[in-house]
Amino acid sequence: MRPLPGRPRRSRRRDPLWLAAPALVLILALVVVPAAETLWLAFVDAGGRWAGLAHFQAVLQDPETLAPGRFPGSPPPWGSLVHNLVWVALHLPLTTGLGLALALLLQEVRGGSLLRSFVFLGMVTPLVVGGVLIRFLFDENAGVIPALFRNLGVESLARTWTAYPQLALPALILGSVWLWAGFAMVLYSAGLASIPRAYYEAALVDGAGWWSRFRHITWPSLRPVTAVVVAMTVLWELKIFDLVYTATQGGPGGASMVLALQMYFYGFRSLDPHRAAAVATLLTLCTLLIGLWFVRTAEGGERG
């Protein structure tokens, strides 16, 4: 306990926070400052004068972002914001449900871990390749799905999905369900493995059936996992970019445009950094809300 003679004790007194300095400087310079600058760009005009909400107004009145009156009666384009929301509304329940179903199904199956790797392959694949895979899957000549519908005699679905406004967005969403379901499955599998078996044994003694065991043991035990899956999945859906870039470029005619891609086009094709910043800020607002919700539920869970 007593300090050795002659050894300096300086290192014990200095707070170890300095070890974080290089990382914090990099984060500050390349993430925080640029993000703050984007926020600034969203509120000023080209001359640096305060523009208030003008860019946001311009972006939200652009039919590329919001095409009111077209949703849901007419086929897309409905505007990138609506596309993102439709994406969340369809993709979130589908991937979460499929992930849970797969995790439950593969629990006690021979070769289950191999099958899990199969499903998880989509998560390992670069999303650029994911976009190519979606194009390929739904291609009139080369794709499995149009060929399947042709055999079933459904001619309206036996063509290249990504080339038609009413089919491009559904193709992308279905493809993204296929790619992302592995995430929910892996997390649910880990969650299932951590539920004590004694719970189920007790329930069996009480004569509980499959459904009541699921409702009273499995589902409540998995609640923290569900919170993670939901938060991460919504973040992923809102940030979707590569997939759309390679599969459709937001087309045809903006029918599959999403916020992240729209920001890129504003910022790097039409070279309008202010509109790009407004779209980025809108997107970040959505993701931060999800992030805050998640931090609050996670902290609540830890304390409770």
């Binding site: 990382a23 914090l24 289950g112 190519v132 590569d242 920001m263 790097f268 997107l283 931090v295």
Partner: protein, 294 residues
């Protein structure tokens, strides 16, 4: 356990009970294997299109008659005149390797510092780091491009590595902080009492105890950097410097899609993350679960 008890009691129903269990197990296996195989159909399609000559694919890759393997498409993708995949793969490696090691080192170091710090800045810093996880890359794109341009780091792999490092640091810090918090403190305290500095303690004590976490973080980060498209798209556009992922959209023809070529390129780009996943599967999954569920 319970089955055995029941079987002894319900002797008359035993045969029917066992038959029902066998049937339900068979059904489960059929469903599971059916779904699992269905899931890899698109990947099988890519492999088929990449590894067979184009003339066999005219009526769909699923027609297996005739079936010849050929490296014709792969060779065409590797030295394509405008978007050679060979060069792209080399470039991607040159970004992915430092883009994994640098954040690994800086992130774990920062996590250790933040965990042991008694400064009042600790909590707000951690909160800030957590919130940064939700920020999309689009939020930094334009200013990051300008910053890098002014620093002469646009069209440079070093600039891209720095961007990836900064981008990975928040999750790395969180990940390592959670892991370090589970380590026993005795060895560390002994080292500190012996006069080792914080840096030495980190390098000689903390890091060697954390190899599983290092493997997990390396598996995740290397795949994410390799798979990245957006940061590369923003920061690198000189043709010879383009990464492998950036070359894929360039191979898609204007009117006619050459699926043999495109599938080969896709297969080549996928091969690396799939290999990392296959080799480090346990760490990969554990990292993903540990990072998100902790």
């Amino acid at each position: 356990m319970n089955g055995r008890v029941r079987r002894r009691v319900l002797v008359p129903g035993e045969a029917r009970h066992r038959w029902r269990r066998a049937a339900s197990s068979l059904l489960r296996h059929l469903l599971a294997w059916g779904l699992g195989l269905l899931w890899v159909v698109p990947f099988a399609g890519v492999a088929m299109s990449a590894l067979r000559p184009s003339r066999e694919l005219l009526h769909g890759w699923w027609r297996l008659e005739p079936l010849t393997l050929s490296s014709e498409n792969l060779a065409r993708a590797l030295d394509h005149p405008t978007a050679a995949m060979a060069q792209g793969l080399v470039n991607s490696l040159r970004v992915a390797i430092p883009g994994t090691l640098l954040p690994l080192l800086l992130g774990s170091l920062a996590a250790y510092g933040l965990l042991r710090s008694r400064s009042r800045a600790r909590r707000p810093l951690m909160m800030g780091v957590v919130l940064l996880l939700a920020v999309p890359q689009q939020m930094v794109a334009v200013p990051l491009f300008r910053l890098m341009r002014d620093a002469g780091l646009v069209n440079s792999h070093a600039g891209l590595v720095l961007a990836h490092t900064a981008w990975a640091l928040p999750w790395m810090i969180l990940f390592f902080r959670n892991y370090f918090a589970t380590l026993p403190r005795e060895v560390e305290e002994a080292a500190l009492l012996d006069g080792a500095g914080r840096w030495q303690t980190y390098l000689r004590v903390i890091l060697p105890m954390s190899l599983p976490a290092v493997a997990s973080a390396a598996a995740l980060q290397s795949t994410w950097v390799w798979n990245d498209f957006f940061l590369a798209l923003v920061l690198v556009y000189r043709p010879d410097l383009l990464l492998a992922t950036q070359r894929i959209p360039l191979l898609r023809g204007q009117y006619q899609v050459d699926w043999g070529l495109l599938s080969s390129a896709a297969l080549l780009v996928m091969a690396v993350p799939v290999l990392v996943f296959a080799l480090l599967q346990r760490y990969y999954v554990r990292g993903l679960v540990g990072w998100t569920l902790k």
